[in-house]
Structure formats: C-alpha cells, structure tokens
C-alpha cells in the first residue's frame, strides 16, 4: 500500500506540471459535459494521478477507488436525462461511489441489437418497454438479472423479468379540452363520435395506446382486449377519416392540445399533467379507459460495468423514495408497490400506478406485445397510411 502511494507521489512530482495541466483541462472538459466521467477517470489513471484527483475534490475517495467502474444509463433523452440522473444516479453514486452517466441516446431495440452484435457495448443499462425484457432476452441480447442482489419483493408479481426489471410506469390516457366537455370527462365512445363532438382527435402514430383506444371505443370489453384484433382497430381508426391527426413525439401531442388544434387525444399521462398545468386546467385528462403500462431497465449483453455494480444499481432503482422523486420530476410512477402509501396527496392524482388510478384503467398485456409488437406496428402503419 505504502509502496503504491510512493510510486504515485513520485510520478506526480516528476510530471506535476504536465499532469496539473491535464487535470485542469480535463476538469473544464468534464464541467462542459464534453468528456464523460469514465474518460476523465481513465485519463487520470493513465496519468497516474487517481489519488491526487480524489484529493482535488472532483471525485470522492471512494469514487477514485471505484475508478474503473462507471454505469452508463441510456434513456430516451430530453428532461429524462437530468431527472433520472437526479432521482437514481446521484443517490446511487452517493451510496456506492460508482458514477452513473445518463446518456439520452434513444436505446431502441435496433440500436441495442446492433451494439451487442458489434461487440463494443457502450451502454450498461437501457430504458425500454416492459415486453422488451423477454423479447430481446430470448434473442440472447441481454444479461440476466441477478436476483441475489436485486430484491424481488420490491416488485409486483411478474414485473421481475429474467432479463430486466420494471423501472417506472406510464399510461396512455384520454386528454380533452374542457371547452368541449365542461361537465364531465369524455369516454372513448365520445372520442369516436365526431358528429356530436366535432374537432380533431389525436393518437400516437406508432400503434400503442391508439390500437387499444380504438378497440375499447368500438365496444370490446376490457377483459377481452387481448389478444387484440388489429384489423378491427385499424377499421375503427379509419372511421375517423380526416378528423384524426397522429402525433409522433410527446411534444407534438402536447402542442396540438395546447394550441386548440385538437380537442381530444390519447396521449402519455406525463404530457397530460404538464398540459393541465400549462393551460391552467383548460385541458385535462381522465384515467378512465386509460392503458396502464410499465417500462423496464435491461442490461445489454457484454456491457462494460461489472455485473455486481449494474445489479446493485437496478436494486437501487426500486427504492420507493427515489421512484417517487422520479414521479415528481417526470410524471412516471413507481413500480415498487410500497411507494403507494408514501405518496403525498398531490402526487396521487398524477401517479398512473396508484391503485385508485389503476382500477380505472386497462393494463397492457406484455405477453401479447412480446409476441405481436412487430406485426402490430407494421400493420397499423400500413392501415392508417393507406
């Protein structure tokens, strides 16, 4: 131990000017976000100055100890980068000393697959829909979750997958303009009744949520929603004719209802609550007939961080306080059932997974999506564009 220290000190003295410059440079780069912490730490080790860096206050001593270790969490970008960093990354780093870098690199299935096949896996943990755990896991693209580290009891039955864990919940909900519905919330039947309630409706272009709304609006009982009749859903969507605009990004769904261009929409609950705030209540939403979904964290096969560190991170994601913080920041709900009783009153209304709200919604069938997602998206796109 002593010898190592001496060795480091020696090198620092010899090359102190150079390394000081290097660290200064690296520090500015790091601050600007041009260099990630992994590179920074790597550089410092390369220069033989890890302990010096630890002393410099940029990294804590334990961080320097865990120098080679870092978790790169890839999600869908935007506000979620900062929010996941704050709710999950920072507390985990505080506990373990392992830095978490959030990368908004949009880890769609195709990108994960290409990355794993290339053999250079940059992402350690990726955000994706619940059914991806099994879908990609069965193709051998994901690492298995180590349930000796991750506490299964923190998750509801079925949400602890072999190749991933449910990390947060979200819903597709019916948002509407109160100018058109001053006294009551519309139903999906009203959504498709363009005679009585004229105006544009909007649904997601990429099938999910929209297909379910079409089927429920067409009179399919909730318990018979899956296996879904895609053709019936497309026929219902087409019955809207020119009265439907499909949204392609969360922001565009928000913008259409905000500007009054659309009067109703099947949109993400996260956007619905922001809309209610921004319009002072002119636009609001109902949980009734919503589609309740959960997302997941998966670990691409061959990722760089150690299995121990990533599994510990996954376990930390399920801490109720951290999940509640994410709900506050993003509107995505906790997956740990223990969180429900800890929610402050004002968050209960916006939590898609609160038992009161779940009871009013239909739950997405992950099994059906795992099997039919590819086909459903393609047929849906063909159907609505033809």
């Amino acid at each position: 131990m002593h010898r190592e220290r001496d060795c480091y000190t020696g090198r620092i003295t010899v090359a102190s000017r150079f390394t000081d410059d290097l660290i200064d440079l690296a520090r500015t780069e790091l601050a600007k976000g041009r260099m990630d912490r992994r590179d920074f730490v790597r550089l410092c080790i390369g220069a033989g100055v890890a302990p010096a860096v630890a002393g410099s206050g940029i990294l804590s001593a334990s961080e320097a100890a865990a120098a080679a270790e870092e978790i790169v969490l890839c999600n869908f970008g935007g506000d979620a980068v900062a929010a996941m960093g704050e709710a999950w990354g920072e507390p985990f780093t505080a506990d373990s000393g392992v830095p978490v870098v959030v990368d908004g690199g949009v880890p769609l299935a195709g990108k994960i697959k290409a990355m794993v096949e290339s053999g250079n896996v940059v992402w350690d943990v990726c955000d994706g829909d619940g059914f991806l755990c099994d879908q990609l896991g069965k193709q051998g693209l994901l690492e298995e979750v180590d349930y000796s580290i991750v506490d299964k009891s923190r998750l509801p039955e079925g949400w602890a997958y072999d190749h991933g864990i449910a990390n947060y919940t979200y819903s597709f909900v019916l948002a509407y303009d109160t100018g058109l519905f001053p006294d009551r919330a519309p139903t999906l039947k009203d959504f498709f009744d363009t005679e009585t309630y004229p105006g544009f409706r909007t649904m997601w272009k990429y099938q999910m949520g929209a297909m379910e709304a079409c089927l429920l609006g067409d009179g399919v009982p909730p318990e018979e929603l899956y296996p879904a009749d895609i053709d019936r859903a497309i026929a219902k969507a087409r019955s809207l004719g020119d009265d439907v605009i499909y949204w392609e990004s969360g922001a565009s769904s928000q913008e259409m209802l905000m500007s009054g261009e659309a009067v109703m929409g099947i949109i993400w609950n996260t956007r619905a609550s922001v809309l209610e705030r921004d319009t002072g209540g002119r636009v609001t939403w109902t949980w009734d007939e919503g589609l309740y979904c959960h997302s997941s964290f998966v670990m691409p096969k061959g990722h760089k961080a150690s299995a121990a560190a990533t599994n510990q991170f996954l376990n930390s994601v399920l801490v109720p306080e951290r999940q509640i913080r994410l709900l506050e920041l993003l509107g995505n709900g906790p997956t740990n059932p223990a969180a429900a009783s800890m929610l402050p009153e004002e968050l209960v209304r916006i939590d898609p997974g609160h038992p009161d709200n779940v009871a009013r919604q239909v739950t997405r069938s992950e099994a059906w999506y795992e099997e039919h997602y590819d086909e459903a998206v393609e047929r849906w796109l063909d159907g609505i564009s033809a």
């Binding site: 499909y246 949204w247 047929r379 796109l381 063909d382 609505i384 033809a386």
Partner: protein, 275 residues
C-alpha cells in the same frame, strides 16, 4: 498513362467502400438470408406485401409530384437570376440561399404554424371572408408536398442557373434572326440546350426526395408514411433488418437504373462529365 488518375479517385472510393459500403454489405447480406444460407424470401415478401407496395407507390408518387413542381418553380427562379440583371440576381441568390440555412426542423415547425387549422394562412383567409371553414393545408399529403418542394427548390435552382449562365446567347440570337419569335426561341432552342441540366437537377431532387424523413413525419400528420420512415421502423423498432436491407437494395438498384436511363437518353457525358 492513366495510372495517376486512379490515385485521384482512390481516396473517395476507399472512404466510401470501407466506411459505408462495407457495413452496408452486411445489411445486403442479411437481405439474402446470409450467413445462414441463401434465400430470396425477403424479396418475395416485399413483392407480396400490399402494405409495402402501397407505401412504395405513395413514396414514388409524392416524390415525382414534388420533383416536377420543384423543377418548374426552380427553372423560373434560375431563369430570372440569369436574365434579370445584376441587382435582382444578387437579391434572388441571397433569398434562395437563406432557407437553405434554416434547419429542416425549424422549417417543418414554421409550416405547421402557418398552415394548420388555426394557423396564420387559414386565419387570414377566414378573416378576409374568402372561406367559411379552414382548409386542410397540412398534416396530409399536401402539407408534405409543400414542405418538400420548399426544401428542394434551391437544389433545383443552382444547377439550372449554372447551366443557363453558360448557354451561348448567340444561339438564341441566331434563332431569332431566322425569324423565330421569343416564345418559340425559348421552347425550341433554350429549353433543349438546358435539358441536361433539367434532367441533372431532376435526378438530384428526386433522389433527395426519396430519402426524406423529418418533413413527412412532421407535416404528414401520421398518415403519410414514406420509404425512409418505413425503413427506420423496421430497423429500429420491429428489428426486421432483412426486410430493411431488401428494401434498400431494391431502392439502390432502381435509382442506379434510373440515373443510367436518364444518362443514356441525354448522353452520359453531358450529365456527369464522364465520356
């Protein structure tokens, strides 16, 4: 004798072959079922799928309309630039260049603000009492065509303008001196002389149009799904890489065939400089 010229083309060929075609070859191989074996099923599936057929037809139809409109409007602007005198030429060049720099994203949003139901154009028309109910100008095929034409006009203008500047004015004078009226001189002499540039610009605009992604996605209201977006969905979401590879190969071969046909029709040398 020609050896040094091989070195001229080498860097470009190496760059594209190694960094672009090589990784693309992997996609091409997937489309033939390699490395597991050889099959044409993905190509048969393309031909057999009515969804893909209608998507391809829509793409070609929209891009053709867009190309024709862009060429006509671009020709007009290029002609004005070539024949209206220095000040107008400078101003026109400037204003054709400005939208070039407006990000494709910012443009798409601007068109939405202008053309949507409660947008500026509709409000102006309703305010002037010209229409009772708003026109559907965007979030449909019309919106996509407007956005694409707007993007592509400058790409038509500059090659056409360059060609017009080299048209020998004496040629036209000669035509007129033997009694042709200006309009006839224009049709019989001017247009044929600029024809290679028209084809060249047309091919460029057409190929460019085929790759459009952002504009149809934002201005199409979700109901205009074009080739690029379709491939993107198979690549990123549904993981049908073999299908995406097959579609890309079909596209590549068709476009090369198209360029070859056009080149043959008007002379390869005049189009590309290759003798």
């Amino acid at each position: 004798m020609n050896r040094p010229y091989y070195f001229f083309v080498l860097p470009a060929v190496a760059l594209v072959a190694l960094m672009f075609l090589l990784p693309l070859g992997w996609l091409a191989a997937l489309s033939f079922g390699l490395p597991e074996g050889f099959t044409l099923e993905h190509y048969e599936a393309l031909a057999g799928s009515s969804g893909i057929r209608s998507m391809l037809w829509n793409t070609v139809r929209l891009v053709t309309i867009t190309t024709l409109v862009s060429l006509v409007l671009g020709y007009l602007v290029a002609f004005a630039m070539a024949h209206l005198g220095e000040t107008q030429r400078m101003l026109l060049t400037l204003f054709v260049l400005v939208p070039f720099w407006l990000s494709v994203l910012a443009r798409a949003l601007a068109w939405l603000i202008l053309l949507r139901h409660n947008g500026l154009v509709n409000e102006a028309l309703t305010g002037a009492g010209l229409i009772d109910r708003p026109l559907q100008l965007v979030r449909n095929e019309l919106g996509v065509i407007i956005g694409m034409v707007h993007f592509l006009i400058p790409y038509a203008v500059f090659p056409l303008f360059a060609a017009m500047m080299t048209v020998d004015r004496r040629l036209v004078m000669a035509a007129r001196s033997v009694g042709a009226v200006p309009w006839r001189a224009f049709i019989d002499v001017y247009v044929p002389v600029t024809l290679p540039a028209i084809f060249g610009a047309g091919v460029l605009v057409f190929i460019f149009g085929l790759g459009f992604f952002v504009t149809p996605a934002i201005l199409g209201g979700g109901r205009v799904v074009m080739l690029s977006e379709y491939i993107s969905v198979s690549v990123l979401q549904t993981l049908r890489w073999a299908q995406a590879g097959a579609l890309s190969m079909v596209l590549l071969v068709s476009v090369i065939a198209l360029v070859w046909l056009v080149a043959r029709a008007i002379g390869f040398r005049r189009l590309t400089g290759v003798g």
